[in-house]
């Protein structure tokens, strides 16, 4: 199935009534289809042949069912909503990232799959339909109960663990994209010349460089002059 038809399938799945076996469920409105920016499936960044082969195998494997992927999308969207100038989880392609990373790190597979199953079971018990098919207010009511690790109800522990994992994956999957970099204001990973902490920042923290320390540091205006020393190990350039 190509990406477009997969998307169509997700839509129809979301809008469909509940699966057999929970036929008594009410089948609440979903608020429409879930869509997200697709992530690339080909990468080139200095890989060995063995690494390329492994990534080809991972991309060829499908782990999550469409229902699971939709549930991941709905959950990621709650954790970091798209209604924000820097975009949210779905803009950052989170469901695709989660799909890849659980295949790459096998120990994550079961916690996510089992977590979704727990969430659906809980949602059916509380609201008569699985998580993707209950109303937004109902979803948030569930999240309010499992998003806080200090919650005391022991019956919620599996849900709390799962929500914490999804929060971790959502934030890491978001902040490692251009959306996340913008949100964080990250300014590194470019060629530059480090010449110390900005003066206003030093002042804000009540810090100063010790003069005798500073004296030994590189004079960046002379960085291109070839280094030399006298016989006593003193720099002379």
């Amino acid at each position: 199935m190509n990406k477009t038809s997969r998307r169509e399938a997700l839509k129809s799945l979301l809008l469909a009534p509940l699966a057999a076996g929970v036929a008594s469920a009410t089948g609440c409105a979903t608020g429409g289809a879930v869509n997200w920016n697709e992530l690339p499936r080909e990468y080139s960044y200095g890989r060995t042949e063995a690494e390329r082969q492994r990534d080809r195998e991972l991309f060829a494997e499908t782990y999550f069912s469409e229902h699971e992927l939709v549930t991941i999308a709905v959950l990621c969207d709650i954790i970091l909503p798209s209604e924000h100038p820097n975009g949210g989880a779905l803009d950052a392609g989170l469901p695709d990232f989660v799909e890849f990373i659980v295949k790459d790190r096998e120990s994550l597979k079961l916690p996510v799959r089992g977590g979704i199953a727990w969430l659906d079971s809980y949602a059916i018990g509380e609201f008569g339909a699985d998580f993707a098919n209950i109303g937004e207010a109902q979803r948030l009511a569930i999240c309010d109960r499992i998003a806080w690790p200090d919650a005391e109800d022991p019956a919620l522990r599996p849900g709390i663990r799962f929500f914490s994992l999804m929060r971790d994956l959502t934030l890491t999957g978001y902040y490692t994209t251009e959306h996340g970099f913008r949100d964080l204001g990250y300014q590194g990973n470019v060629a530059n010349v480090w010449d110390g902490v900005p003066e206003q920042t030093l002042q804000r923290h009540g810090m100063r460089y010790e003069p005798e320390w500073l004296e030994k540091c590189v004079d960046q205006s002379r960085r291109d002059i070839i280094a030399s020393w006298d016989d006593d190990m003193n720099p002379t350039s």
């Binding site: 990468y43 960044y45 200095g46 063995a50 690494e51 709650i78 954790i79 970091l80 909503p81 820097n86 990232f97 990373i101 790459d104 790190r105 999240c143 998003a147 690790p149 200090d150 929500f163 914490s164 929060r167 971790d168 959502t170 934030l171 890491t172 902040y175 490692t176 251009e178 970099f181 949100d183 964080l184 990250y186 300014q187 590194g188 990973n189 470019v190 060629a191 530059n192 010349v193 480090w194 110390g196 902490v197 900005p198 920042t201 030093l202 804000r204 923290h205 810090m207 460089y209 320390w213 030994k216 540091c217 590189v218 960085r223 291109d224 002059i225 070839i226 280094a227 190990m233 720099p235």
Partner: protein, 569 residues
């Protein structure tokens, strides 16, 4: 197949020791074969570049894999486990073994921490009665350290410390903000702190190599060649002499010897087509890493060397030892809601603390140094995990969802300060590697079996490390994270091999009965076989080994050239 004319020297392994030997021997006019088990590598080659990649250029956002355990962008091809190349550990003992398989070996991802051993580091037995002295002293090696400083480049400062010698340093970079907090904590605790010493070019050192552009990515290998990797600094210039043939993807099986017991060359296998290859040489220089060189020697069994080459005294593989390690981190409330700017700096710490208690009465021998970490790192896989856990220190509720999480992430970004200790262990005859009689690798070479246990010395040292780190982190204004490991976890002591400073397996000495090589790395049992990696170390100081490997390898190479001139080789 075999080469007709013998090479003047066959160098096995292309890391710090092999690179230096290849460069020094080729420069002296010798014809050299350099044999490397992995592929050719150049970080400036776009097909191999990982530097300046953004996390989204990797589908796993830089997470480590079995094929690149230190992260998807790390330059080192290799790891703790290699397909088709097993090793084993004896019952109830433990060892981790990192092997690189690429031109330049582990110099492609090392921390560039470049510390000379000091006068005391060569004579520890004289001080604490444990282990053995080196046959050489600081005075023997100082001229070579001096030459390495000038050839390779290292920043640092001359502080006149008794056991952390001055050098020909490039000027260091200014400390980052979290390092200023560390300095403040160290001053309060009365513990010294100095600019770090890393082989990264803060100034131009020649017209070929670039100057640091402060991307903090030395572990990805530098396309500007502004840090030390054996490939970029030594091997490319050596190859440019026209006197070096590089045999990449070629594994050495054994050193071949003649009826007189001297080496005639090496037997290898071409890993790409599985063809056997024999190289003839007048001398063989082993620099495959301490354990791999020991393995080659142990596998070089002949009528003249029935227990392996160089092993008539039974010492090959013995005295295997690694640095100790422990680490701890803290949350610095004063670093919440930071000004965000580019503070990448160099790939590693700008400040460090060398061992400062040489004269103190302690319940362990030998010392350790402290490495400082923290700052506004580039996000990669794992960033944002437990994003607002520090809220519990502020009396706020941890967890939640929604756009408020963005504020938490920004609020706590760069507010962590960490310390890692690296210490000296006491070499033990009973810690060793040997050929496993039951296991071979896919080339039919017997695998290594390790025997290694820490002693009370290292465990007590780790306890001291934990106390020191707590004191410093709290003095810096930090709130300690995680629990303090106690005796049940050996005080957080790293596993043997984990610090990747394994040395000692072919130690040097004047007595052939208790050592494998002489003071020039020359085998007592075969005068045209040399060891130029850290196998010759009698003791691994708390200093990272690379600078000493380079100095020793250069010294050994000059010795080879001199002996050839005198027709002794």
């Amino acid at each position: 197949m075999s080469t007709a004319d013998p090479y003047d020297a066959i160098v096995v392994g292309s890391g710090a020791g092999g690179g230096m030997a290849t460069w020094a021997l080729a420069r002296a006019g010798l014809r050299v074969a350099l044999v490397e088990a992995g592929p050719w590598y150049d970080p400036a080659d776009e097909a191999q570049r990982t530097q300046f990649r953004y996390p989204w250029e990797s589908p796993r956002r830089g997470a480590g894999t079995r094929l690149r355990p230190f992260g998807d962008f790390n330059a080192c091809i290799g790891g703790w486990e290699l397909d088709g190349e097993p090793f084993t550990t004896a019952d109830d003992t433990d060892f981790m073994w990192w092997r690189a398989r690429m031109l330049g070996g582990r110099t492609n991802h090392w921390g560039r921490i470049s510390l000379r051993f000091g006068p005391l580091d060569f004579k520890r037995r004289d001080i604490d009665g444990l282990g053995d002295n080196w046959p050489i002293g600081y005075g023997d090696l100082k001229p070579w350290y001096d030459k390495v400083d000038k050839l390779v480049g290292v920043f640092g400062t001359n502080e006149g410390l008794p056991n952390d010698p001055d050098g020909f340093f490039l000027p260091p970079p200014k400390p980052r903000l979290h390092e200023l907090y560390y300095i403040r904590g160290a001053r309060r605790a009365g513990i010294p702190v100095y600019p770090s010493r890393l082989s990264i070019l803060t100034k131009r050192i020649n017209s070929e190599r670039g100057v640091c552009v402060y991307c903090r990515q030395c572990s990805r290998a530098c396309g500007l060649h502004a840090d030390f990797s054996s490939s970029t600094v030594l091997i490319y210039p050596a190859v440019a002499t026209g006197r070096v043939d590089v045999y990449s993807n070629t594994m050495v099986r054994k050193v071949d010897t003649g009826a007189d017991g001297r080496a005639t060359g090496v037997s290898c296998i071409d890993r790409e087509n599985r063809r056997e290859l024999r190289l003839n040489g007048r001398t063989v220089v082993l620099a495959a890493s301490a354990c791999s060189s020991a393995r080659i020697l142990l596998n070089s069994i002949s009528a003249q060397h029935t227990s392996g080459l160089g092993n008539s005294g039974g010492h090959v593989g013995r005295y295997l030892h690694d640095s100790t390690g422990a680490s701890r981190a803290a949350f610095l409330p004063e670093l919440m809601d930071r000004d965000v700017y580019n503070e990448d700096g160099v790939g590693g710490m700008h400040v460090y603390t060398p061992w400062w208690l040489e004269d103190a009465q302690l319940d362990f021998a030998r010392g350790y140094h402290l490495e400082i970490g923290g700052g506004m790192n580039m996000p990669s896989y794992g960033f944002g995990f437990a994003a607002n856990q520090y809220k519990r220190f502020l009396g706020e509720r941890v967890g939640g969802y929604g756009n408020g999480l963005r504020d938490d992430v920004r609020r706590f970004y760069g507010s962590r300060l960490s310390i890692a200790c690296r210490g000296e262990s006491v070499p033990q005859y009973g810690n060793y590697c040997e050929l496993d009689p039951n296991v071979v690798d896919e080339w039919g070479i017997p695998a290594l079996r390790f025997h290694y246990r820490w002693t009370e010395q290292e465990i007590n040292q780790a306890r001291h490390m934990q106390d020191t780190m707590e004191e410093l982190l709290e003095a810096a204004g930090g709130v300690l994270l995680g629990g303090k490991p106690g005796p049940e976890r050996q005080y957080g002591l790293t596993r043997p091999g984990e610090i990747i400073h394994e040395v000692g397996t072919t130690r040097m000495g004047d007595d052939p009965a208790t050592s494998v090589t002489n003071r020039f790395g020359q085998l007592h049992d075969a005068d045209n076989v040399f060891v130029a990696d850290a196998g010759t170390f009698v003791s691994q100081a708390d200093k990272n080994p690379t600078w000493t490997i380079l100095a020793l390898a250069w010294r050994t190479s000059e010795h080879i050239v001199e002996q050839m001139r005198q027709r002794n080789l």
